[in-house]
Symmetry: C2
Subunit: 361 residues, 2 copies
C-alpha cells in the first residue's frame, strides 16, 4: 500500500513576521485556501487516505501540526526530539510505516512546497508506483523540470531513458550562474524536489548498507515502539544518529553503484512547483496586479509598484510611493522591508533577539 | 473671571490612519501623555478651573469630546450643527459665557496645538489679563515668535510698543518664501496662533459692529438658551451665520481702526509652540534618535533613517532600509508613505473613499 510521509522539520523565520519559531513556513497559508502542510497532506488524498498519512516534525511543532492535521491518527505524527536532517527523518518514518505495513511503499515529500495542479502530481506518483512494480528495489525521485537557471537548488542529471523515467546519472550541488545556464540548455537536468517514492523496507535496507549507525539506532528503538517508553527512548537514540541528508547518505552512493543498488530513477515533473522560499517568491505563485503588486487582504497601494503586501482580513494596509518592498501585517507585528533582501531579514531577526524582542520571533 | 474657550472644530485626516473623521487631530495623543484637546483644557488649570472651561465642537464629535473631557459640565460643551469658521464659533462661546458670567474675560484657543512649557503659557495669559485691566476694550493676541521663515502661517505685524506688548500694525496672509524670510529678518512679525484674550462682552460688541448678522442670530437664539429647544433653535440659526474667520471679520478691521476699536495688541510668546500639522512635524516635537528616526511604541528600524514610526504598545513595527517614510500602525489600518508628501496622503484618502473603503476614514 502507498503511504505518505511528510517531512515537516522546517523552522526559521524567512517569512517573518508571518512565520515564527513556533509556526514555521509549512503552517502558513501562502497560496490557496489551506496551509502548505495541509496541502501536502491532502494533495494525494484520493490516492492515500488519512490512515496512511504520516508526518515527521519537531516536538516543538507537535501542537500546531495536530491542530492543522486533526484528521490524522495521533500515532502518525512522529516527533523528532531534535533536527537530524532528512536521512534519520526518513529512516524513522520508514521504520514506523513498516511496523504498520511491512510491504508499504512510501511517498516522501517536504511539507512546505507548493504544487499545482494536484491531479498532475497524483498521476506522476502513480507512474512512480508503476515503475516500482517493475523495479521493486528502485529509488524513484520526482525531478522538477527547470523553468529558469536557478542557482538555489540542487540538480539531478539524467542518464539513459527508462520508459517515461530516466536513470539518474548523478546529483549536482547548487550551481553557479553559468553552470545553471548550461544545465538549463542541455535539457538533461532537473531540480531536486526532495520528493521520493520507494518501498519502505528498501529504504531501511539501503540505510543499513550506507548508514548502519542510523539503523542500529532504530533497532535499539524497536522494543519501545507503541509503548509509553517511546518518547524517552527516541530522545536517547535520535540525537546519536548522524545529521545527514538522504541524498548524500543514500541516493548519491546508490546512483553511483548503478543497477546493483536497485537503480535510482528520476521522473520529470509536468506540474507547477515552487518551494516558496521567501516573500519575494509570492508574486510568482500569487500573480501581480496591473501595478505589479501582489496583495493579500485589504490593501490600497497608491503610486506603489513591485510590492508584496499581505495583511489580515480585518486590517487595511495603505502604501504610498513604495517600490519593491514587502509590507506584512500580522496581529502583533508589522514588517516593511525591501522585497529581495533575505540577508537583511536575517539581520533583523538577529537584531530583535539582541534587543530582547525575541518573543516576536 | 477668566474663562477658557477651546475651539475644537477640527476635522480631517492629515494624521490618517491615526486621525479619522470621527476622531480628528485634537483627540490624538501626539506628544505628552494626553490628547491635544486634553492638554488645551488642562494647561491653564491653575488659572482656570473646569467650571470655567468651555469647548465648541462639531456635533459629530460630541461623544469623543465628552469622553476625553469628562470633567467638564455637559452644558459647557457647545455643539455646532455645522462648521462656520471661527467668527460664529467665538460668537457662540462669548454668548454662552456671558449668560453665565456677564463680566467674563475669555481666553480663546485652538484645541489642537502643542504648547510647552505650560507655566510660560500661563504667565503670558496673566500678562494679557493685566493688559486688559488697563485697556478693557482691547483685543489681545498671542503672537508666536517665529523660529524659521514659515510660509504656512499667517503673520501679525507689530507696531508701537505698549508695555511688554505691541500694538498690532496689520495682519499678513501666508507669505511666499522671500516675504517670510524678510518677515523673519525684521523681527517685527509673529505667527498668528489663533489664541486671543478679551472680554466676552467686548467680543459681542465688536461682532455687532462688524458682523451684525451673527449677533442678530444670537439674539434670536437667546430665548432658547438653557431650554430643551436649544439644539433645534441652534440648528436653525447657526447655518445662517456667515462662514468667516474672526481675524477677517473683526480683528483686521479693528486693528485698522486704531485705538478707536479699543486697540489690538500682540503679546510675543516665550514658550514653544507647534501646530503639529502633519506626520512630518512629529520629529520636531518628539525628537529623533541617533539614526534620525522618531518612534512611538515598540519598533525596530534597521538601516532606516529619517522615519516617523508610530505603533500601539502591543504591536511591533520593524522596518529595513526605509528612508524618510512614515509608518503608522493602528488597530485596523496601517500606513506606509513618504514623510513629507501631504498631497499624496490627501490623494490616498480620496482613493479609499472611491474604492468603498471610507469606513477606514
Amino acid at each position: 500500500m502507498l503511504h505518505l510521509v511528510i517531512m515537516a522539520g522546517g523552522s526559521g523565520t524567512r517569512f517573518w513576521p508571518e512565520s515564527r519559531r513556533a509556526r514555521p513556513k509549512q503552517f502558513l497559508t501562502l497560496a490557496g485556501e489551506t496551509s502548505l502542510i495541509q496541502q501536502a497532506a491532502h494533495r494525494c488524498r484520493p490516492l492515500i487516505p488519512d490512515e496512511r498519512t504520516w508526518v515527521v516534525t519537531g516536538s516543538a511543532h507537535a501542537a500546531e501540526t495536530r491542530k492543522q492535521l486533526a484528521e490524522l491518527p495521533e500515532s502518525q505524527v512522529l516527533l523528532e526530539p531534535c533536527g537530524r536532517n532528512t536521512a534519520p527523518c526518513i529512516a524513522l518514518a520508514a521504520f514506523a510505516v513498516t511496523q504498520a505495513d511491512p510491504n508499504a511503499t512510501i511517498l516522501v515529500t517536504p511539507a512546505d512546497h507548493l504544487i499545482r495542479p494536484e491531479p498532475a502530481f497524483r498521476e506522476k506518483i502513480a507512474e512512480a508506483q508503476s515503475l516500482l512494480g517493475d523495479h521493486p528495489n528502485a529509488s524513484v525521485l520526482i525531478g522538477i523540470t527547470p523553468t529558469y537557471a536557478a542557482t538555489g537548488y540542487g540538480y539531478i542529471e539524467r542518464g539513459a531513458a527508462a520508459g517515461g523515467a530516466f536513470h539518474v546519472d548523478r546529483f549536482r550541488e547548487k550551481p553557479v550562474r553559468e553552470t545553471a545556464e548550461e544545465f538549463l540548455r542541455t535539457g538533461r537536468f532537473y531540480w531536486n524536489s526532495g520528493i521520493f517514492v520507494w518501498r519502505a523496507a528498501r529504504v531501511l535496507e539501503l540505510l543499513k548498507q550506507y548508514q548502519p549507525a542510523i539503523v542500529a539506532g532504530l533497532d535499539r528503538l524497536k522494543p519501545a515502539w507503541g509503548t509509553p517508553d517511546w518518547t524517552r527512548a527516541l530522545a536517547e537514540e535520535f540525537p546519536k544518529m548522524p545529521s545527514i541528508s538522504i541524498d548524500y547518505a543514500v541516493l548519491e552512493p546508490v546512483a553511483a553503484a548503478g543497477t546493483e543498488g536497485g537503480g535510482v530513477y528520476v521522473l520529470p515533473s509536468n506540474f507547477e512547483w515552487d518551494d516558496v522560499g521567501s516573500w519575494q517568491s509570492l508574486p510568482a505563485v500569487l500573480g501581480k496586479d496591473e501595478q505589479g503588486n501582489t496583495s493579500v487582504g485589504p490593501t490600497c497601494a497608491l503610486h506603489s509598484t513591485g510590492c508584496v503586501i499581505r495583511t489580515t482580513d480585518d486590517h487595511l494596509v495603505a502604501t504610498i510611493g513604495l517600490r519593491d518592498c514587502v509590507v506584512v501585517h500580522t496581529p502583533d507585528a508589522t514588517l516593511v522591508a525591501p522585497r529581495d533582501d533575505e540577508n537583511a531579514l536575517r539581520e533583523l531577526v538577529a537584531t530583535l533577539e539582541k534587543r530582547g524582542l525575541a518573543h516576536y520571533l
